[in-house]
Point group: C2
Chain length 154, copies 2
DNA sequence: AACAAAGAGTACCGATTTGGTCCTGTTTGC
DNA sequence: GCAAACAGGACCAAATCGGTACTCTTTGTT
């Protein structure tokens, strides 16, 4: 668990395709056939991304969508937010820091909030361009991350 | 979004209470009144944590639950796993790395998998003891994390 | 001016997941 | 032998998710 929903996954797949030639205009129909995803779903996702300011839409014949900004300037955090709403591990966090329903929980809730910040920062630092790149095999840095997070919470 | 579910939040709250005096035996009823959470829910959560090996249960009168290990040796990742199952941002990741249904997505899916690893490591490095501590105000390390994750994905 | 391509908006639907309850065992201390 | 306390389910309503469908509006082309 600790899932992102499927539409967000689709969204990154679609956007990474668009990132290959950012200036171009892509129609929902073309993107759906290219990625092998159901057309109405792709259309729905594109609308949400446009509403979130990640894409600009062009109506009418020969219309379509194109990236609102260079792929380096679009973060995965933005994609998630556009599709799923604000990134919030717990109800408490989404509530905007106001007192939770169960006040005795708040001690841990604040720590969840810290973890949430770490994740959010991480997701903000990963751009669409990064996400479009092929897989790199070895990631020595990865092993360090755990330690660093620990020190952030201790 | 990108939520943990409410039971997991409850679980950390309950466990952090138990971490204050780890040797003691706590009954479900007592924990529920102490935290102000519905008794059947607390009971359900405790059973799952016991099944996950985080708690040991003692049946019969004067029974109850106690931590299976010191609070420093129980990670938040384990708590999430015990309550929600394996940590997997996407379907593809949970599928165990086998080919996704939508093969063209796999390029991004592998990158999601990388992010998943980073999150998993982060959650593994935070112990129940850390989670029980009061909030520390400044976290200079936090700002670094973004950069580190970026380099892990680039 | 008319038509067709394409997005905007929204309602809807079935399946699954969540959050939570309840009930019937079984174990064990007193 | 009784009562406290966990084990293990079944069960249920409500929300969410993944996906479809339909009606508008805009706009390039002829």
């Amino acid at each position: 668990m600790l899932r992102i929903n499927r539409e967000t996954d689709y969204a990154t797949a679609i956007l990474s395709l668009m990132a290959e030639a950012p200036e171009e205009r892509y129609s929902a129909a073309w993107l759906s056939t290219e990625r092998g995803l159901p057309a109405p779903v792709v259309s729905k996702i594109l609308k949400q991304l446009a509403k979130g300011g990640l894409l600009v839409s062009h109506r009418g014949a020969k219309g379509g969508y194109s990236l609102a900004r260079p792929a380096e300037d679009i973060s995965i955090a933005e994609v998630i937010t556009a599709i799923e709403g604000p990134i919030a591990l717990t109800d408490c966090i989404e509530g905007g820091g106001s007192a939770c329903q169960y006040s005795p929980l708040c001690a841990v809730s604040h720590n969840w909030s810290r973890l949430n910040d770490v994740f959010y920062d991480a997701l903000r630092s990963v751009s669409l361009k990064d996400m479009s790149k092929p897989l790199v095999k070895e990631h020595p840095v990865l092993r360090e991350v755990g330690q660093r997070v620990k020190s952030a919470v201790s």
